[in-house]
């Protein structure tokens, strides 16, 4: 395991992402709500660049007690990132596909040393 330098935390704005290349491997590093998350950039569907697309809040459909729908809404805090090839949508905090959590991107640890951010790969 080696630590790969990503960048300085002070220059990595919330909502941004970076793609780190290690040989032929690629890792997407996101900063969301102050935390860093790192995942394989190869989508588990057809191999698309899973971390290079849109980030968007999870869509929810709350049901009332009588089972009627309250319609579609964006979740207040849960965020997803979306593979731009076909729309495979992954949970920002876990890397799991939002429809089938068994489909899960490889997750990498992110460590901070002062202002410097590293991915452990």
């Amino acid at each position: 395991m080696t630590e790969q330098f990503v960048g300085k935390a002070s220059e990595f704005k919330d909502g941004e992402r970076q793609i780190i290349r290690i040989g032929e491997d690629e890792i997407g590093v996101f900063r969301h709500a102050g935390e860093f998350y790192a995942y394989s950039n190869f989508c588990l569907h057809q191999g698309g660049p899973a971390c290079e697309g849109l980030t968007i809040a999870r869509v929810i459909e709350p049901l009332r007690e009588d089972k009627t729908s309250m319609g579609l809404h964006f979740h207040e805090t849960d965020m997803n990132f979306v593979c731009p090839w076909h729309g495979y949508e992954y949970d920002m905090k876990t890397g799991a596909h939002i429809a089938d959590p068994r489909v899960k991107l490889r997750k990498y640890d992110v460590v901070r040393k002062g202002d410097e951010v590293y991915v452990v790969a």
Partner: protein
């Protein structure tokens, strides 16, 4: 470039570069040595509406042409082509839709040809059958005269302007104005011998069409006589009476693409079109594959009970269905055993043709075929390009491809 996400939040993404977007596909090409495999994409698209300024002047009727050009003029006052409801781009999640206009190309060469080169090279595709996008709804146009004019103008533009700029790597199956049998015949007679025309396409999205109507026999005969193919290209119609019951695009899309080909395939088979035109290659495009075993079983069951309704048939409906060809995309790779059964039931080794549907949102890479664990090498090569090579007579692009075509019994020259 910014995309709109939740609550108007803006997310910055790089502007579109197809080669870069598909860099991972290019890695698959290298890893799997696709350069040695002739890969023919039976269904790819461009956005012909972006070329209407060049296409519409090819319309013949001056009054209809003026109406169309006026509708497209600045401050346009109408739509030329029927358009469907839907969210193909998933709200921008599939970024190539909102970013498409940001991609830079060389103004001295046809833009669609350059974009085609980029994604074909990235995917390892040697040839693509180029289809329009919006024109897939042409069967919903209320005026058959306008349907003919638009199909005619597109056919002239694509054969005279677009394909000649594609270095021979794109061919087409021209969209027929099927509401007008005489016009369809004229299209076949006029364009059937043109370079790059591999056949003719009937848009399946039609609310009322009987493919076995006597009026069409001369059209099929003309296509068959020329050694060309006929394809039914499916699509959704969320606005139709049936699909207005769907409250999500997913539902209308999943059902619609299969439904319209199920409908026309049923009429084709039950009316014995396979007996009438045994040498006509018939392709069913963009309905996935899961519908085919369903329809085979359904029709065989009813045929055994009611054969008197189909006296032209000399074998079971499923046997005629196994004589026809199917494009692979969007392939339902969910239950591998079910998919393997589907491949067995349709004789995929000889009847299935790889298709990407690129750049549409649910495109499939060649690896979706190549990586299937149950395929023989022969089946892989046949499906990816060998069978299409025989139907469309597309020459191999290098000696390794030629050797593989010969090895698997597909080589027909070129």
């Amino acid at each position: 470039m910014d995309l709109i996400a939740d609550r108007g939040r803006r997310v910055t993404v790089e502007e579109l570069n197809t080669s870069k977007l598909l860099a991972h596909a290019a890695k698959q090409v290298k890893d799997r040595k696709f350069d040695d495999v002739l890969i023919v994409d039976t269904d790819a698209h461009h956005y012909e509406n972006e070329n209407f300024a060049e296409i519409l002047p090819f319309m013949e009727n001056e009054v209809l042409k003026q109406l169309a050009l006026a509708a497209r003029a600045k401050g346009g006052r109408g739509n030329v082509m029927p358009s469907g409801f839907g969210y193909q781009d998933m709200g921008g999640r599939v970024t190539r839709y909102p970013l498409r206009t940001s991609e830079k190309t060389d103004p001295s060469r046809q833009r669609d040809a350059q974009l085609g080169d980029r994604w074909m090279n990235a995917m390892g595709v040697d040839y693509s059958c180029l289809f329009p996008t919006g024109m897939l709804n042409i069967g919903l146009h209320p005026q058959k005269e306008m349907e003919f004019e638009l199909c005619w103008a597109y056919a002239r533009w694509v054969t005279e302007k677009a394909l000649p700029d594609c270095n021979g790597r794109m061919y087409t199956m021209l969209c027929l104005p099927f509401s007008d049998p005489e016009g369809s015949l004229r299209m076949v007679e006029t364009f059937g011998d043109r370079k790059g025309v591999g056949g003719f396409m009937i848009t399946s999205v039609r609310e009322k069409m009987q493919v076995s109507d006597n009026a069409y026999m001369k059209v099929y005969r003309a296509i068959e006589e020329r050694g060309l193919a006929v394809a039914f290209h499916s699509g959704p119609n969320w606005g139709s009476n049936t699909f207005q019951s769907c409250n999500r695009f997913l539902s209308a899309h999943a059902l619609g693409f299969s439904w319209f080909n199920i409908l026309h395939c049923t009429n084709w088979v039950v009316n014995g079109m396979g007996e009438r035109f045994p040498k006509l290659p018939v392709l069913w495009i963009e309905s996935g594959l899961a519908w085919i075993p369903f329809l085979m079983q359904r029709l065989d069951h009813e045929y055994m009970l009611r054969p008197s309704e189909c006296p032209v048939l000399k074998k079971k409906p499923s046997d005629y269905m196994r004589d026809m060809f199917y494009s692979s995309q969007p392939m339902e790779i969910q239950d591998m055993d079910a998919l393997q059964t589907t491949f067995r039931m349709i004789n995929a080794e000889t009847q299935l043709l790889y298709a990407s549907d690129y750049p549409h949102w649910d495109f499939d890479l060649p690896s979706t075929i190549y990586d299937l664990p149950f395929l023989t090498d022969k089946a892989r090569h046949n499906i990816l390009g060998g069978t299409a090579h025989k139907i469309f007579k597309l020459p191999p692009r290098n000696e390794a491809q030629k050797a593989n075509l010969i090895k698997y019994g597909n080589y027909v020259g070129g």
